[in-house]
Symmetry: none
Subunit: 199 residues, 4 copies
DNA sequence: TATGAATGAGGATTCATTCAT
DNA sequence: GATGAATGAATCCTCATTCAT
């Protein structure tokens, strides 16, 4: 077993274990010992690779957002037209709770810290900002090709993200309340009816 | 100072103090001692009136939702037509983050516990359910008077709530990202364009 | 309901409740609140009639021994001959665990405090001393009527009490280990064979 | 000071300290902090090696019985004849209160918990059962070599243990009441007169 | 007499973090 | 690099006792 170059392996191992702990026990009920047990390492190792628990948690959040972003890019970028991209993005957002419920669990847990932890708040703010800015780009494209009303552009990105997040949250809290696959159509329709795509 | 019949006074005092603690310190960084200091009572009194910290927290959440619901009812109920009601409801939802940021702080903190705490989850699920069901009633009314397309009704309540919550969350996390008073118009327009109100 | 002369009624009520608490929860797991709940009075009442918890407990122990002693006297005193008395006394001692298991529960609980609580130790010592001294009297009588060997008298009372207590304790701890009614015969035989009763 | 492989050392250290605390302060007046101070370790270490206070106490009881049993075996086993063994066993039991008063202090404290703590009850029941079963074996041997009346065997072990325990308890509670070295002779005589050893 | 509200010290237990090995 | 023993402050909670009513 290599002793050198373990850094990446160990960090990854610990971050993944922390994620699982958040999902299984929750942000506020999870000790460093729990994490080390889940990762099958000693507690000492954690402090060897991370400054402290808070540092580790921040890295977990960053990694979680990084992966989520990566996933979105992979599916959306290859598409050509702005409306394909927008609709794909909506699909992506809408399906997170089903496809990757752990992401939601992690995000909700961190969201609870946003009020009192500026660092976490900053990371989440940046993530939301990114989501909006991708959508803004598609919209810009749509305006440029003359198929979108410029006056609707201003809040569209925030509204699109809002719908996705709001649907996801309601569904995570109560999956019986509606069918999340079913609602996707309405989600798209609502956006479309608002921006009045011109043929 | 009276010694008898203090129950309601003390419970209220402690619940309010707990709310303040959640807002100022956060759900997971707040000790019973913090609460008792905030409420200017002894820790013992908290256990005299609440079974334990969890019980207290649940009551804080319930109380928070109760007040929020009350507030909504007061402004929406007096209105006559379904579209006035719906739009007022939207306004209400949209303004919570500005008018009552503490409510958002509390809710976000509890939302973070929803994954791992079935009791909290139940209370939040019920609250979201209530929000949707009020909207559903306005919509029913709208369909009955022939001014609303029935086929849009199915997900409208969830979508309306989603927009409100999603806007609020983004704004709480980053108030610089958009003007929340400004976005209200777009919020309403999006709903209206979807349901195609007939004159 | 009389307000004057409540002292005896209340004291008795509280002492009985305390006894029940000791039996049901154990000496060291029982709070003043438990006692007041069991007695259906307020905690304040307890401090009105007893100096403090320790005082109350001492009175419970005394009362327990007083009742036990009373019971013994009632059945033994009417008898005539010393050997009838001795055997009846043995029967009495032997049957306490079955007839009055609460007494054993209470005594065992207090016995556990004897090492570290001189006051409790004193009361128990006196109780054991009493038991021995009654037996010594019967034996004196036996010697005087010439039916008992004087040289066996010295330790007989302690040995008789020892057998009774030792049997009781083993049986309380494990009632399956022997039949306590059955062992009485052997208990008596052992005493008889030792003192060689002359016809 | 070594950092690895401390488990046995620490456990022993803590168990011994707990024993001392029970003797000096009593089962119900002794805090984990007292124990940790007595053992000269931090409170944390106690929870590192024992599940909780109750677990620790159970191990103390077990250890106490284990040592006592060991001691008995060492002195009794080398002996040849059943009556030598029986008498030695009686001597051993009788001398515990003098030779090892801590054992009695510990046992009495735990005995007080037997009514309300099934686990403690089980351990004590087993210990008493062991004591009886050793004696039963000597008796069997005596019957087989024809020097003991079989009909007396049934309760003899319980009666022998009863005498020993009963004497010890009375003496612990009031050492002035009789001379425990002196009573040993009578203890033995009582057993001998009962079983009528044939030459 | 009687109540039960109120106190706060003290209880068991957990936990982030350090450090000798 | 890696371990897990060790710490002790901080957590939640209980409880004997007091006292205004």
């Amino acid at each position: 077993m290599p002793k050198l170059g373990m850094e990446e392996i160990r960090k990854d191992q610990v971050i993944k274990a922390t994620e699982r702990c958040i999902v299984e026990k929750g942000y506020s009920n999870m000790s460093v010992k729990d994490i080390s047990a889940m990762a099958k390492v000693s507690t000492g190792i954690i402090y060897h690779y991370f400054k402290n628990k808070e540092d580790l948690l921040l890295q977990v959040l960053k990694e979680s957002f990084r992966k989520s972003h990566e996933q979105v890019m992979e599916t959306v970028e290859p598409l050509r037209t702005f409306d394909e991209k927008l609709m794909k993005h909506i699909e992506n957002i809408n399906r997170v709770p089903v496809d990757n419920p752990d992401f939601y669990a992690v995000m909700l847990n961190f969201l609870g810290q946003t009020i009192n932890n500026p660092e976490i708040n900053g990371i989440i703010a940046k993530f939301f900002g990114n989501l909006r800015s991708y959508i803004s780009q598609y919209i810009q494209d749509g305006i440029e090709v003359g198929r979108l009303q410029p006056e609707k552009a201003k809040h569209l990105s925030a509204l699109t993200v809002a719908l996705g997040m709001g649907i996801g949250m309601q569904w995570i809290v109560d999956p019986e309340s509606f069918d999340i696959v079913d609602i996707e159509e309405s989600y798209k329709e609502m956006i479309e009816s608002y921006i009045l795509l011109k043929e």
